[in-house]
Amino acid sequence: MSGVDLRFDDVHFAYPSGTQALRGVSLAIGAGERVAIVGQNGAGKTTLVRHLNRIFVPTSGTVTVGDRSTAGSTIAEMAALVGYVFQNPDEQIFARTVISDVMFGPKNLGCDEAESRDRALAALTTVGLAEHADAHPHQLSLSERKRVALAGVLAMRTPVLVLDEPTTGQDARGVEMISRVVAEVSAEGRTVVAITHDMDFCAEQFERVVVMTQGEVRADAAPEEVFAQREVIDAARVEPPQLMRLAAQLGWGSRPRTVDAFVDAAAGERAR
């Protein structure tokens, strides 16, 4: 399974209430890229990604997934291309058992019962919930329900995976598990887009960071570059990841994204 390209061309979107949520977003994401979207609450991040599977169509402008314009496609067609994991799992989960919830997606894509079950079990294993396959989703904790929602989308094996706040409420093992999913999906060549407020997760797992403020793209670059732009960071109400803040405070020129990179930088500073 390989990824597909994603394109937003001058996308504007207004909610029926009149709220202008997107104000001319243009963005191209290549097949297989790993992109994080960050920015303040209400900046339009969720609105933007919900255009990818046609929950929303632009008020003006176009959104293209692969060679398809979303406006000219059905929700079912887009769902086969773009797997979207909701921020709130309770908006997504509806079945009476975990396994049937996770099987719903593959079944809708035309997989038979056996294939759907195989895919669902594989996805539940990936997120560490195979033993809860027969549980009622509401017997699980919020963080577990979030991983059920993720499994439901993983089982669809879509070329594009969109995660809305995937690490929220996850403990250390949950964050590690989600980091592994991102790495694996990306290693298969699929496109991964994640909205996150977790800047450490963002720097460690994503090669490109898109910063949004008030419905516009404010910056779009590698984590090292984006987090060096103080003005952008402040306007977007985010902050650099812990290790970059520490390196900056110590007066080092480097902006380490991982603990290993930080220790390498420390060794370098010591050798000077």
């Binding site: 303040q40 919020l142 109400r237 902050e239 110590l250 290993d260 930080f262 420390a266």
Partner: protein
Amino acid sequence: MITLTDIGYAYPDAEHFALEKVDLHVEHGEILGVVGASGAGKTTLAKIIAGFIPHVDGGELTGTVVVDGADVAELSLSDAVSKVGLVIQNPFNQISGAKYTVRDEIAFGLENLGVPREEMVERVAAAADLLRISHLMDSSPYALSGGQQQLVAIASMVVLRTPVLVMDEPTSQLDPAGTRMVFDVLSALRDAGSTIVVLEHKVELLREHCDRVAVIAGETIVAVGEPREILADERMPEWGIGATRFTEAARAAAGRGVVAGGGTLPVSLDEAVAFFQEDVPA
């Protein structure tokens, strides 16, 4: 202000205890941070302090919970609610669904308590101002982003001015600046005399704002103490809790012999700066 003695609890129809042998004391006017892996029992603890267990969830609760001098089991739910404000984990579920504007949503609890209109107007405005959502007062709660809804949920509890506030992951949906703002609000409320229990995964913020930290693992409290001591403890991974990158970097640097290490590892940015400045001259 809060004293839990030998608490045990099992949810209805559950085969295992969700919490066992829990003893905990929270002083008047302190912020206690509670950390633990998912499923360790943090939310259960929050509901016990707030009286939702056993009043709402049922199940079997043993031991005693005393809040502000009263045994919670003997209070009615409405009396318990007037002592403890509980901000639940999923803000989307805290919004009442009965109100069309943020202003009315924040006022909902006060209406139920029969607070006079003039006082209600003043308190709603003050709570919205504190959480910096005054500009959203005329919006529908459902037209807001996830983070904005979470601030409304927090304001709906803060407005009640209960002596105790229990907050179950109050910043899960918030951007980093919003997260810092909420923790600043908690510190301000503490300084004004509130007692606060906050359940969080964000260890850096707990270090900066809490007076003490408790760890839940294996259905009980395994450690309580000074935040830096607890949050830099080498058993953090074993407990299923993520240390800050500051602690991880210091431990890794010491492990590779880049720094001498020794002593308590840093948890916050300031502590990490001091730790590396001593060892790695720039």
